[in-house]
């Protein structure tokens, strides 16, 4: 479909999306600022529903137009994607808009891709905001290239909007609750090793914390998978829990980029196919936990992960740029390689660093009698300690580098001063600090992947 022939009719094109279960989203819209007509909606995506929707197409168009109001003043840098968020109590809706510039019919226009949800879904949506925005931002990057080439952006956008609608629908039914009772987790066992092997549990939690609380739990038994999912979620904040998903007993969900913990069910052949691209696009490295065979694997630390991710993104965008025609490369195509970058498909590695923090916690928590709230208190103390340590580490680096003005060169001192001599402990605290201050790993361990590997070697020698 070419964008050279915009619809002649004022009617807005609409795609209805079939979803399983209740959809919290009312619609998604793509609008642009027409130099003659002003704001104009180009496309609407709406969940297919037999019941009448809260908003009519006219109202959706009205709201979508709203998102572009005031953008005539936009002075953003070329290529920037700005996010706007509306809570319109009068209309009872929330709107998330991503504003960007794109070429339509040879002219540069300001465009808006928007998600519309009922206002009642605000608490549900807010924890997922970053996930949705980051995913949409990347699809917009691809869409802009498509527009530049004169193709329709709609098909590109559809490739991400539909999965986001599915994600929100799945989260509505299967997200992890904000408050997890310890009795639903492995930590309620009488003794360590009752539910799962002691070392496996230690490895799983340790790696989970080392990868910023981002894990996927794979298995054949949904109950077993969900018990581990809940256990791992105990170590997350309430907002992060709301951004985690239990596995579905009937059939597995797809892997979704950006969730903190997700349970995934193996198919009848006992396997689960992981999409390389989506895993790499996760904001944090991920721990892969297989509860059937008790294995724990993890992706490289944050700075390496970010570096790999960026390189892959650039390759993907370059491939799109070079594509000769719309059919040459579809939006779903996975970029496996180009001239400059060959991604390491074996992204999951063994857990390299042993820690003492989680080890001693697990050794000790089972000494407390279950069912009396003692373990919850002990867990709260453990988490408080981790959060405080992360903030202290951050402050230490901030002081040392004068808020990043000087390079950080005293890792050895940091480990001695903050009592973090064990690699695993440092990884855990660094990972928590990374969540507080994005880019900390890259700053501390150097900017390039290669330097970071050297740094890591040096780090290991301490």
């Amino acid at each position: 479909m070419s964008s050279g022939c915009p619809p002649q009719s004022p009617a807005v094109a609409k795609t209805e999306v079939s979803l399983e279960g209740e959809s919290p989203m009312l619609a998604a819209t793509f609008a642009y600022w027409d130099n003659i007509l002003g704001p104009r909606v180009r496309h609407i995506w709406a969940p297919r529903s037999e019941e009448p929707l809260l908003l009519s197409d006219g109202e959706i168009t009205f709201l979508a137009n709203h998102t572009l109001n005031g953008e005539i003043l936009r002075s953003a840098e070329c290529g920037a994607v700005d996010v706007k968020f509306f809570v319109l109590a009068e209309k009872g809706v929330i709107i998330v808009s991503l504003i960007f510039d794109g070429e339509l019919k040879g002219d540069k226009n300001t465009c808006a891709l928007s998600l519309i949800l009922p206002q009642t879904e605000l608490p549900f949506y807010l924890p997922l905001h970053t996930v949705c925005v980051e995913r949409l931002k990347h699809i917009i990057r691809k869409g802009r290239i498509w527009m530049k080439k004169g193709y329709s952006i709609v098909s590109v956008l559809t490739s991400e909007i539909v999965p986001i609608m599915e994600l929100l629908a799945s989260m509505k039914a299967h997200s992890v609750p904000e408050d997890i009772h310890i009795k639903d987790t492995v930590l309620n066992d009488d003794d360590i090793g009752d539910s799962c092997h002691e070392d496996f549990l230690h490895k799983a939690i340790s790696s989970h914390l080392q990868t910023c609380g981002c894990s996927m739990v794979v298995g054949s038994n949904p109950d077993k998978v969900n018990k581990i999912v809940r256990t791992l979620c105990l170590f997350l904040t309430p907002a992060e829990r709301k951004c985690s998903r239990l596995c579905r007993a009937e059939s597995s969900f797809r892997y979704d980029t950006g969730l903190f913990v997700q349970g995934l069910l193996k198919d009848s052949t006992g396997s689960f196919v992981l999409p390389f691209r989506q895993v790499l696009y996760s904001p944090y490295p991920t721990t892969h936990i297989d509860v059937d065979v008790n294995t724990v694997k993890q992706m490289p630390p944050c700075h390496e992960h970010t570096y790999n991710q960026r390189r892959y993104m650039r390759s993907e965008l370059s491939a799109l740029w070079k594509a000769a025609s719309e059919d040459d490369i579809g939006p779903e195509t996975v970029i496996h390689a180009d001239e400059t970058f060959t991604p390491d498909l074996n992204v999951f590695q063994d857990v390299m660093h042993k820690d003492t923090l989680v080890k001693s916690f697990l050794d000790e928590v089972f000494l407390l009698k279950p069912g009396l709230g003692l373990r919850s208190t002990f867990l709260a103390q453990f988490l408080l300690l981790l959060h405080r340590r992360a903030l202290t580490l951050l402050k230490y680096i901030e002081d040392e580098t004068q808020k990043g003005k000087k390079p950080f060169r005293s890792l050895r001192s940091l480990k001695a001063d903050l009592d973090l001599p064990v690699e695993g402990d440092l990884s855990i605290v660094m990972a928590m600090a990374e969540k507080l201050k994005a880019g900390l790993h890259s700053f501390v361990f150097g900017k390039s992947f290669y330097t970071s590997v050297q740094e890591r070697d040096v780090l290991m020698s301490f």
Binding site: F62, H66, N69, G70, S75, A76, C78, A80, V83, K84, F85, F86, V87, L88, A89, E90, T130, R141, K148, T237, P238, T306, Y307, R310, R314, L317, S318, W321, D363, L367, L368, K369, T377, Q381, F382, L383, L384, L385, H387, L391, T392, L394, K395, Y396, D399, K403, G404, S413, A416, D417, L418, D419, L436, K437, A438, G439, S442, F443, K447, S448
Partner: protein, 908 residues
Amino acid sequence: MIGSPDLVAFTKDDDFGETDVDPCLLPDEFSVPLFTHAGNSNPWSKTSYAKFARDFILISEFSEQVGPQPLLTIPDESKVCGTFDLNYFSLRIMSVDYQASFVGHPPGCNYPKLNFVEDSKVVLGDSKEGAFAYVHHLTLYDLEARGFVRPFCMAYISADESKIMQQFQQLSTEFSKASEWLKTGNRKAFASELVKKLKDLEYTRTVLHKETELQKKNSGCYSTQVIDKANELANVEKSIYEHKDLLRQITSYPSRKRIDCEFPQESDDPATSAEMDKKATPTECSPEVSPEAITGKRRPSYTPQLIKGKSAKCFDKRLKTLEELCDSYFFHQTMEQLRLIESAFRGDLCHIYTNQISQALLKKQKITNFLYEVYNDWEDEAVSKPSFAGNLPPPTPLLLGAPQSPEAVHADLDAETSVEKPQEAELTESSPSDLTQENSDEGTDAEMKVSSGSSGESVDAAGPERPERHSEAEAVPQAFCPDVVEGNAAGTVDDGEDNDERVSATDSPSPEHNRASYQSAIHEQEPSVKVDGDMGGDEPKSPGLTQDLDLTGDSVLQASTMVQADASCCMGQEKLQYEEPSPELAENGFPDRVVKREPQSCLQGDLTLGKAVTAEDSPAVPNALNSDGLSDDMFRMNLDDLSDATSFMSASTNSDRLSSPCHYSNPVTLKQKKRAGQNALRFIRQYPFSQQAIFCVLTGRTLVVLGADERTVRKLVNALSIFVPNLGKYGETVQPWLSCPFQLTDLQNWKIIGLHRMASPTGSSMLHSLNRYARYIGVLDADQKTLRCPPYRGSLIGNMANHRTQIKRGSTYFMHVQCMLTQLYSKAFLYTFCHHLHLPISLSEDQETVASRRSSFLHQQLGYNEEDSKMIQFLSELIKQSYLQGPGRMVHPPGFCFSYIPSFVHKI
């Protein structure tokens, strides 16, 4: 002739000296940077390219005359906004067509309708400027404005985009409250304006009517002038009708809106609403009803004016300012709320976020919070507190001391007591900076605490006297009265060091805060005022007390209640313990009573008690200040017990004790602790025996810091105070400076004492006494730089007090210590509640086996040596006490313990 150099200027840049760009290469604008922090950027730099120094709040208006314009910023300092273009940003945030709701004449209706639109919230940014904003849009009513509406917005502007989104719900809640204040005040002002306008119209009608009648008589019924007047009269009639309708609309503000909005509600109270309606209704019938009927305020009587036929043109009239649009009390409450918001969200997101997470976690571990955590909301749930009024919002953890509901105040105003109300309310508010760490209830009564006597002695001594004359609820508030009264009577302000410290602890120079400081200053000098009068009265006690001085440690033990030490922690040791208050009697917690105190009721307190109170000053005073669980009777009983058991180490006058500045008036804040971190860092770097000193503190051994220079001693005490377990809400277990002889019980109640070394017989007597009690206490000599206490050979303290540490800032060091202490009390918690550790597993097991199991747990399971185990055992003992006593009650320090381990003198 044109040469080639002349043509160069006409060539394109791209064609000159540029290499061909590969068309297959992805342009930067379509790509992503390879490194998240390229160039000089770093994790902290995302906020550095903004043109403003720090986050601020901007109020803008979409003026019908000049378009979007900034009105004011909070804080109102030009340097905060820097070179940031407020006009441009106002234009951007106000150009969002955010509501598109109808205002004006609806179809089919020939008179205007007010549309009560709900607020809209928008997050937007300007990535080029590095400014992101939470924008709260609201509409105010103005009789002179087009469609009677004035669109405004309040924006929280930050350079950190993630901060806005991550804190969205909190921002939304708090700005909704501010908006509700503003809108409530505006409705009042609008109604008042309508009433005035109606009066004017009525007056105009009367005048026109008279003129018409006059002209009818003069020139007949059908003259042009008469017809004009009649038309004018008809217009006025219509206008009266319209304004009456507007008044009806504004006074019957739909309750749905009030219920729906996030602001905690008010006047769902039917009485208030009914009152409002009643007052409004007569106005509709009779415009002569005074505006006071609507507003509940008595104002100067209004003189009606003649209204001209044609109003001023749109651009001729002066639009009202924001302050004029709103009732002044409500306007100031709005500003106060906005200042609180600015203060609460100030700073780096990582600190705000971690603090929020920590507070949530602290609520789950209440049992250990008393050890090292700063008093905060986690304690609120432990001790239930009645609210000020039934319709008051629940305490908001985020903004402490926020103004109460506008509607509740509205009701107050209606009750015609409103003239004084604002002043009172202001008096009871705390400055924003004071309140960022404490909960709202605490915030509300913070002022009271400031206004209380700063001397713990005088405050507590008053406690036992009160119940005889006053009810429970009144008792404690009145305990502070003598200070208040005498302080005012003295009429002087003490600019002493303590006061200065308190002032500098806050960043906000708000008038309220200044007032608080002033009051505090007044009360601080209070003890010295009383001292003069009390000196004589207390002197006769001295001989008896001197006799007690000769008591040895053994006799002290005899005098005290001897109990068998708990085997879990003090095996084979004897303890000096006071009787525990019975739980039945200890139900009414002290904090409950502090909250509800009003300055006026304090003044009613019996002033004659002042001296008696001082006379009854007891050694347990600092402790008693926070003896949360004690009823007054029980408290007095306890004091009696204590005085019975008290042995004075030397001749002591209460006046001397009072003259030493205490600092129990304000709760200890995290900010203060962080500042103490700087002293602690200096201490561990300068004193190689710092670990031994900290060991003393962590095992409950009282540490006396002795020195001639007050400043040095205070600094040392301050440094060590961050290690003191169960420091107390007000830091009452630490006495930073004592220039008078102290009592034996002080050694038990105060865990660190800064003691003035005096070159007098009293001073040498004190030194002699300190030597005598050396087996119970540690003595840090600040002058000779020595420490006498048992040795420490463990490893735990080494992690938190390493003199070679590279930590640069005191606050960072405090955070590190906080981590280590969190780890420590977590282990103590484990030790306390570890399954099968403290009880015999079988009947055949005796106490020795159990003790050996405990010891083995500490040594083998946790890997601690003897000294480290001692710290765990001490903390465990405190946790046990706290657990048995229940939440919200003061944990008393365990009694003195013999220690057969010899003390050593450590030197630099």
